[in-house]
């Protein structure tokens, strides 16, 4: 179920790269604020832009910002956490205190500051959101890895003369990959929300490119006339987040070794 929703969203986003019902930025004042019809499946906005097309393009932006930020977070967080667990001592303290420092900032607020300082762009959003994914991944990786290090099969690997780096690559990471995959889906969902938040404040993709958050913000003015304009992007965000969370839960069940043993 979660996988189906996520796959559908992904398909819509990919499709928007080659085809949308109308160009998402095409203004057609004559056709402004139309309700759903055969010509415009989900209606149009105050500038006469096709809502369905905007939602599809928005999906692409939301998903790529979310994916990019999670990749950034995992790319830096996982090695940091694995290293902290493998080497321990002062390095562990350094990494974990660095984490605490990042955690101590109110994430969304700092992201807004960053975006405001760097100017709105896709990359700003990716960096701002990705920064706060680093400590999450570092922490998950470290705590899972720390539990593995004392286990006998790791001890046996050490007796084989293997170094900590090699053991991390060969034994530790393969054994925590399932936990990381679950974490990725959770963080993707959070990143979608964060991106919508930044978009709402006009700090994600620069105009005129549509984003779900920006569509929500624009719809405020016309809330009384056309609530549809606010509801639709909201529903998209909600469905995507729900789908990713369900995918995460499903993966967790599927990958849990205790449950796997029963099958």
């Amino acid at each position: 179920m979660g996988a189906t929703i996520t796959a559908t969203m992904l398909a819509l986003a990919l499709l928007s790269m080659i085809w949308t019902p109308y160009p998402p930025v095409a203004i057609d004042i004559k056709a402004k604020l139309q309700g759903p019809s055969l010509r415009h499946l989900l209606g149009t906005d105050p500038f006469g832009r096709d809502t369905a097309s905007m939602l599809m393009t928005g999906a692409r932006h939301s998903l790529s910002v979310a994916t990019g930020s999670v990749l950034l977070g995992a790319g830096l967080g996982v090695p940091a956490g694995a290293m902290a667990a493998a080497i321990g001592g002062w390095l562990d303290d350094l990494v974990m205190r660095g984490n605490d420092l990042l955690f101590a900032f109110p994430a969304v607020l700092t992201a807004i500051m960053l975006a405001a300082a760097l100017g709105p762009s896709t990359w700003t959003a990716v960096i701002a959101i990705g920064l706060f994914n680093i400590p999450v991944f570092a922490r998950v990786t470290r705590s899972a890895a720390v539990r593995l290090w004392p286990r006998s099969f790791v001890q046996a690997a050490r007796l084989s003369g293997k170094g900590r780096f090699r053991i991390t690559v060969e034994h530790i990471l393969p054994n925590i990959i399932d936990q990381l995959v679950v974490q990725v889906t959770v963080q993707l969902a959070l990143a979608i929300l964060a991106e919508a938040g930044l978009g709402y404040l006009g700090l994600s993709v620069p105009p005129p490119a549509p984003s779900w958050g920006k569509m929500l913000a624009d719809a405020q003015t016309f809330l009384a006339v056309s609530p549809r304009l606010a509801i639709l992007p909201g529903v998209m965000v909600a469905i995507t987040v729900l789908g990713l969370n369900m995918l995460g839960d499903g993966l967790r069940d599927r990958l849990d070794p205790r449950l796997a043993a029963l099958r």
Partner: protein, 524 residues
Amino acid sequence: MIPLLQVSDLSVGLRGGALLVDSLAFRLERGQRLGIVGGSGSGKSVTVHAVAGLLPEELTATGSVRLDGQEILDLPETERARLRGRRIATIFQEPMTALDPVRRIADQVRAPMDIHRLGTAKERRDKVADLLAAVGLPRTTFPADLFPHELSGGQRQRVLLAAALAADPDVLLADEPTTALDLVTQRQILDLLDNLAERRGLSLVMVSHDLGVIARLCEHVLVMEGGRMVENGPVAKILTAPAHPVTARLVGRRLAAAPIEQRPRHAPLLVARGLTRHYRLPDRGRRVAVDDVDLEIMAGESVGLVGASGSGKSTLARLLTGLEPPDAGSVLLDGHDPGRWDKVRHSVQMVFQDPFDSLDPRWKIARIVGEPLDRDRLPDSEHLARVVQALREVELPEDALRRHPHAFSGGQRQRIAIARALVARPRLVVLDEPLSALDVVIQDQVLALLSRLRAAHDLTYLLISHDLGVVQRLCSRVIVLAKGQIVEEGPVDQILHSPRSSAARALVDAVLAPTVAPQQGPDY
């Protein structure tokens, strides 16, 4: 007279599937003690769960279980709950998980009285204190507001026992209550059970894979295999004249000691001097795990390292193999420090205690067994040949290579772990409690394998164990460790027959040979 507990034609099976217990029948008179013994998978534990009404949902029981003549097997859950703790109490194998970690021990002991609404608040409180004192946890040293994590495994099992007795049950079902404990603690808990059952006129059903444990406590024993009863009778008769091969195997295991090879002593293979290791405690104190240990192991010798849990034997093993650096002192293996010298990397290998923990679940057997050779960069064909040979040595089929560890049983996994140790052609193999996770029949097979491999490859063993019975079958010399120090050292027979230190004596006493212990209580 109506027996206290009468089980007849009891069968337990998966819904519409295989039977785990097949038409079992037994009876238990008031004050009587019955032992149920069998290997793993014999259905003994399932039987206890069925009688206690604690079967998992997938399992259904048919037949009859009568308590004082009343049929209890098909009672609705609410009425079963009324019996639990009040008439029938249970204690299980895992003292580490059977207690609620966030509730104080006194509250957990009181729980059965609270649930069954027995006595006033003050009476309950007094009774908790009495019970905890009776199980050897007097208030002076063990305040009632302790949490489970502040107690050792043996102490937790005592708390569970106190809780089981809180509502004065008629029958106590004990499912391997001492299996997770070391032998000294096991002995103490068995004595305690004996004593309490005697004083309270408690009827007991005791399940164990170890006939020695049963013989210590019960007058009557029932032997199970594959869900069926294969033999039953008085303990004395079963021990002296077992009629069924399964029984004979269970009786025979500790009696038949393997001949111990005596070899001429060569040069020392491993020399340790002044080894010391502390652990820092959270309150800035220090715990000395290994304290100034000197030790020599000759090439070709097999040495047993024994001690109760917490005596530092595992830490010592980690120091000797170079897995952990000592705080002071030195280890030389063939003249090299195993922690530093790549040269001796292959010379020392280890077999770990828990075969479910020692094989990477993501790797296939071929890769696991070959791991010690990974850094040698042998040509693929030679690497594979060494792995195949090692597997053959431990009598596993070649098709095991392509499978993952989860496809194997505990005994097979331990064989895989042994193959991994062998593949590097080591000189010293450290065996860290290699049998304690296995059931008795498998233990025998692994012991035989170890002793054959030693002869074939001229191996030196350091066997770490809390069980002198196992050590006796593999080693000629024993080192006794207590509180991180060597307290006694000598030939195994000498330690067994005339131990000088109290630590050694406690270990010797703990070896439960399946002989007829003097029994009190009603005759069967």
